[in-house]
Symmetry: C2
Subunit: 592 residues, 2 copies
């Protein structure tokens, strides 16, 4: 797995296009007044960027080269730019502008835990900053050095630690190196008949260590659990040596150190290895489509499923706005035409489904044929009670195939100047409708305040006993008179503020980083942040480990620093080139 | 729920007896050479104890009285003795000897969070030590002040915070005050049709806050989860204010502060409230008995159940030694006679079950009648594959009714001078047989080293995807020539050491306290302990919150201190009085 584009999501040459989706351009024009048929903005080439010289004192360079080998240390400009930050909307916009931030001074690639230990020791001895780097897919600002950082900054790329070391079939556990990417992990496990079952949207461009460091959650978490459930044993290189946590199923050894490493975003050390749950590849796997007459009915159905004896592997429902986008994103117009046909409308109306407010849902089942049949029967009984209507297998299959293409859409819209982004949260079942209503009100109030046209939509995914995740996506057509990032901030902040004001959390599975840090005290309260600070400062007294993430650095570390680059750069856009088309989409696929 | 006996488990007047169990006394005599038919040792009355005067400076007393009301502060000798420690074997032996340790100087009973906040503030302002107290059932030494503690020590009894504040039926969550005892919690929830489903052996004498502070696990954890899974929201009075964690189902807000409070044993603050999972009372609940031909077959069956699509609510199997005790503990001799009958032996042999090595198992099912039937069918298919044999409902019912009486047996044996205790651990499925073998070897080597007769037995309970809990019980017939606690220590230490040497954990659900603290570095590694220390020291810089638990205090806090009392006391035994008989038992009931 190579590094992603320096300016956007995914591999060079792969992009989203509207051209094979006849309904999409008219839809976008209708909802935010943006004509995506016009070509994108001209771009500058990488060579036109201003990349600052690295600050890597010779003794530090020597020590790092001794740690990982001279050929595994790079100060190459492209490497440093690619490793300089993640892929948040703010990251993408700034990269396109040539505002590169405080770039790392070197990228090192350890081969194993010993090398990671040696490089961390070298860095701390030279008072350098160490930032572990997995797939670089962070959308929370977890990977960028602090703007005023004067110390050398080392990005530690974990991609060489990419092996499944052992599978214990009796315990259903696998020892895995933390730098492995999602597809490579599944390939190695599948070859032995196993799966980890963790499929976040970032799957193709994220790593096991990154999932652990950010508390990732995959689309089948209802069955497999979040990464926090899947991760049992851990090995982490810390300033005081290698932390070794045994892969025991449950333990009573005081506050959970395992649950401190989970979500630590590099602030406690470099995660080198994890022992994770694996399961036999299921004989059957089905993801079926359903339509609910309203969002409220969809929420109620999924809540009742969570409280029932049914245990589907995926539960997901989109609101009407996201459902409309899904139908507009179809390649094959046949079904939309069918839906629009008088006969089908009559049918839907008889079932109480108004096409304007209907909500598309996917529910997955997996296991033996018997198990799938029983789960499906139990689940569909509840779906039916809430007026839901099965629409078969092909929409779910399409969704399942295309789900990892979603992040490409942000680049497609940014090519045309339009920021779009996501914000997700979780809350108890009883609060979800209120959280949803409050976020919708806050988002639309932000659009109104800016005098802009925007679109805001949502789906529910990741069901638990006592609540679920709500995942919001928004896009806006910038005014052109103000800075697009400032306009974006107004909307993003309004949504995040609505989360914490409504009793929900600042993020269900995207982490805190720097993007969400300002809401942390409102979420986990002041004493909660104090505990995190105590943990970080006590474990890393020199503040060498990815400082400033989750809990902001104390004001005495770099007061009055200004962001290098900032608004001064006029570089905008990116290098062109031929692109492979992908069928990325933010929402989900309609029946085809 | 009143306080427990100052010298033993449970309520005054309740005790275990062998008299209605004709097989038990011969069994004990056979296995450890102890004649339990001889009457217990004479005891001293509470009045004969030497109880040190409390050290409670007047300004601190006034501040505490202002915090909780003068009538809710006590310096009464009996109160202080009852709150001085928990119920570990070491605690029981020392209490019986009149070695009371560093008693608290006062017991306070806050009525609510505001009072808890005020008393913590008062204590910190006076540099006093605060030890939260739930049911006092700790068997890990979590409740006793450090021997050399010179500061005033305040025991905070949480029993007045005993209400279920609200049940949210939509979210399946209940807001509950942390001082509520198990039976009271279930009574309040059951009245509204709900259950928490958390039933540890200590259930009748432990509280929600205590479960959270020690990472408790209940007998139906396979279905309901451990307390760590059941606990979502938390309110904790800390030195920097009230920690408020939202009851969200999952969150990505950095290292989990929720999982720091879990297992914190009072070192981070006073837990006042939790929002916990609740479930509708199940229509059906069955606990059925099974016999496996060998321990290995029982382990393999339970492992296969955990890997299957079956989801029973309880999975438990005893080894042959525990099975033998169970059969010896029956009240009704009919079944043993039956088992011993030639006909049944032939029957068992035909099924491949040797009565000398057979293993008794309980498997529970709950939910709708359909669900129970399906789970039972799936499970029994696996049981049968491993040579298991169903023995019906009555053994399980008896076990279910009597399980909370188990802790009384330690007092019964101590009355006759014999120490007995438990040590439990967890490990991956693939390691359980090795852990078991190593612990058995270590325990018996310890008996041999001491030249004593001892008994060591085990059951598996609490199954997870990737492993399970092994729960060991041992008893020894002391030599009479050495200190019984020293002899006990040799055995207890050998077992604990075998845990950590075998890759298992020092405790699955009994916590660290002081009893297990010496194995913590071997379990979670030196950097893991360093992280806990960072958390505790940063959150509680004055070391006012239950210091010395989990992570031992730095040597500069009380070097060279000696334990008051020590071996000097000749007090032994306890006050007599009429006792209600309970059918306590360490293992499990035979078919009746």
């Amino acid at each position: 797995m190579g590094a992603m584009k320096w300016w956007g999501w995914g591999e060079e040459g792969v992009a989203f296009t509207h051209e094979d989706k006849p309904g999409l351009a008219p839809f976008i024009e209708r909802v935010i007044g943006l004509d995506v048929r016009r070509p994108g903005t001209p771009t500058i080439a990488f060579e036109q960027l201003h990349v600052a010289e690295p600050n890597l004192p010779a003794p530090l360079r020597s020590a790092l080269e001794r740690a990982v080998g001279a050929d595994q240390l790079s100060t190459d400009a492209h490497e440093r730019v690619v490793h300089g930050r993640g892929k948040s909307l703010r990251d993408l916009v700034r990269q396109r502008r040539g505002d590169l931030g405080r770039l790392p001074d070197a990228v090192v690639r350890p081969a194993d835990e010993d090398q990671a230990t040696a490089l961390l020791r070298a860095a701390i001895d030279s008072d350098a900053v160490v930032i572990p780097f997995g797939g670089g897919s962070s959308i929370a600002g977890s990977l960028e050095a602090e703007p005023g950082e004067r110390r050398p900054v080392i990005s530690v790329d974990m991609a060489r630690l990419n092996r499944v070391l052992a599978v214990d079939p009796t315990s259903q556990l696998a020892r895995v190196q933390a730098g492995v990417f999602g597809p490579d992990l599944e390939r190695q496990l599948n070859a032995q008949g196993w799966t980890c079952g963790h499929f976040p949207d970032s799957f193709t461009h994220s790593t096991l260590g990154g999932w652990i460091a950010t508390r990732s959650s995959g689309m089948q978490s209802d069955r497999y659990g979040d990464i926090a459930d899947l991760t049992r044993g851990l090995r982490v290189v810390t300033p005081s040596g290698v932390l070794e946590l045994r892969p025991v199923p449950s333990t009573s050894t005081g506050p959970s150190v395992r649950e401190m490493v989970l979500g630590s975003e590099g602030r406690l050390g470099i995660i080198t290895e994890a022992t994770i749950h694996v399961r036999r590849l299921p004989p059957q796997r089905r993801i079926l489509g359903y339509l609910f007459p309203t969002w409220a009915a969809g929420l109620a159905a999924l809540r009742d499923i969570a409280a029932s004896e049914a245990s589907p592997s995926v539960t997901r429902v989109s609101d009407a706005a996201e459902t409309a986008l899904s139908f507009a994103t179809r390649k094959d117009p046949t079904l939309l035409d069918k839906l629009k046909s008088r006969a089908l409308q009559v049918f839907l109306e008889r079932r109480g489904v108004d096409p304007a407010v209907m909500c598309l849902s996917f529910i997955g089942y997996e296991g033996s044929a018997d198990h799938v049949a029983v789960q499906r029967k139990l689940t569909e009984r509840i779906v039916k009670r809430h007026g839901g209507l099965g629409i078969g297998q092909s929409p779910g299959e399409l969704y399942d195939q295309k789900k990892f293409d979603t992040p490409y859409i942000r680049d497609f819209l940014l090519d045309r100047g339009a920021p779009s982004d996501v914000s997700e949260t979780s809350a108890p079942w009883g609060e979800l409708q209120t959280v949803y209503d409050n976020v919708m009100a806050a988002g639309h109030a932000a659009f109104d305040q800016l005098g802009m046209r925007g679109y805001l939509m949502c789906h529910l995914s990741h069901s638990y006993h006592a609540g679920a995740c709500l995942y919001f996506t928004f896009a806006l057509n910038p005014s052109g008179t103000r800075d697009a990032l400032e306009e974006y901030d107004v909307v993003k902040s309004a949504i995040q503020q609505a989360f914490v004001d409504s009793g929900a959390t600042l993020s269900h599975h995207h982490a805190v980083g720097t993007e969400h840090a300002q809401w942390l005290e409102e979420d986990i309260s002041v004493p909660g942040v104090a505990m995190l600070r105590a943990l970080f400062e006590g474990t890393d007294p020199g503040a060498n480990l990815n400082p400033g993430k989750i809990v902001v650095s104390p004001p005495d570390l770099g007061p009055g620093e200004t962001l290098p680059g900032g608004e001064s750069s006029s570089a905008n856009g990116r290098a062109g080139g031929s692109r492979r088309s992908v069928d990325a989409q933010q929402g989900s696929q309609p029946p085809a």
